[in-house]
Symmetry: C2
Subunit: 323 residues, 2 copies
Amino acid sequence: MAVYTEITDDELQAFVSSYDIGKVSSCKGIAEGVENSNYLLQTTSNTYILTLYEKRVLPADLPFFLGLMDHLAARGIACPTPIHDRDGVTLRELAGRPAAIISFLSGLWIRRPRPDNCVRLGEAMAALHKAGQDFGMRRPNNLSLDGWRELLAATGPRADQVQIGLRCELEEEVADLETIWPKSLPSGVIHADLFPDNVFFLDDRLSGLIDFYFACNDFFAYDIAICLNAWCFEPDGSFNVTKARMLLAGYIKARPLSADELGALPILARGAAVRFLLTRLYDLLNHVEGALVRPKDPLEYLQRLRFHRGVRSPAEYGLDELV
Amino acid sequence: MAVYTEITDDELQAFVSSYDIGKVSSCKGIAEGVENSNYLLQTTSNTYILTLYEKRVLPADLPFFLGLMDHLAARGIACPTPIHDRDGVTLRELAGRPAAIISFLSGLWIRRPRPDNCVRLGEAMAALHKAGQDFGMRRPNNLSLDGWRELLAATGPRADQVQIGLRCELEEEVADLETIWPKSLPSGVIHADLFPDNVFFLDDRLSGLIDFYFACNDFFAYDIAICLNAWCFEPDGSFNVTKARMLLAGYIKARPLSADELGALPILARGAAVRFLLTRLYDLLNHVEGALVRPKDPLEYLQRLRFHRGVRSPAEYGLDELV
């Protein structure tokens, strides 16, 4: 659930009048995106998303995010496109906050992804990775190795309040990953948060990828690892190897994976599990009573982490039939 | 801020397929209406509001609310119209709750109403009162006299936590109103909650009235009294007589007020102030920490109540120049 900055009708109309998008006919705060205030803006010409960037997004990162969406959309990726005002500017200010108007994408997110959704996801992710290769800006992944160490320092002392032994298990895991984490793999711009609620479908067709506010430069295969965690586990915690195989099959049609990338998947998947386990743990431990955002369960990701630790070969992700 | 019931994409598509409104292209929870879950639903044919009725609305009242909107819209009132499914039904069930699809109204609500907005409000309210006269169902106003006594019993013992002396002042006021409340005035269907956020404008034109979930049968002039409180006081608590005059001028163009109605306005305005003071007090005293709805300040309405108690003649509402 998002936060909302109150915008007066006068402010809004003045803001929109700088764009060639018609006049405001409606604007409603929507319950989407936990980091920002998002509004569904209807004008006499079209439907848009109006985003006000709240404090969890660093203003210095906004040109990267908006520039990336612009770049990807120009290369045919179905993603939100920042609208340029009459001076060509995409990042402006409204109600005292950085703000942008973004194109609206149709589609619903799939609450219970099926294997065919995973094929479409794999295809779209590979297309995204390829389209980002000539993007001119860079943003390091601050939620990779270095970030985990920092999150561990902030959460470790209270981690055992959530589950006895969690601190010790996480410390060993991060130490392990620091030793075995790949030094070099094919890299570029990754989405880094391709959870089901960020992927829209219309019927069986993938209609768009949204929420690029964690995008960064990192190993392409790490993006796959994030999706293995987010799309291929069932509510009971079991790993659905068919979905994983479909996801990878979709991906390698557009961008073949090297032997190094395939071999690194179990380690990358452990890292991806640690990343979401730590941020969820941080959010839970620092949850303000009465805040609008309900914290997600970190322990889901402990279960996934343990699963990947038990994986001996990438074949266990369903790869044996693919490569 | 609204609550949200989670709807799966499958449930939603099955639900929408019973209507002749095309296929779902998008559905987003919106931050509107504190009583229900509201979604902005886009289909291949149009934009709609999907409402799931949560526990604060009595299911037995829903046929009245939906029937009234249907009735008023058919008589040219710019208000949401319930969409009928292929069997002609408007009230159905989704995700275990009563649910309806309603037409979408363009417009923005005015954060700082101007006098000309008040003219439009008066006109629209009078038109609503006239259009409701041949509506066949009835719903008593459970937030009038009897309701206040009940709310007072529930809030009185803790009212002084909010302001010392509040309990005593409210008890005297309700006792007074029980004695002097009009026995008979022109009556019919009233909206009973025409606050600025329930009235949409496009430029200077009133484009719609929404949120009929407090509508009931009561004195027409009581609806005016509610609006005098909701539209004609400035943020500093002062009464803006120009706005009141404009509101009444707009109203009487379409529906003249009798001498009895005019004379009763100060008493009705006291009653309207007591109604919102008591419900806000109740919500504040029963606020659950962490709930999504932020309680509104009851004391705003104490100030208004005291103002109306000092009014000696309806001329003080700017009526002297009108009648």
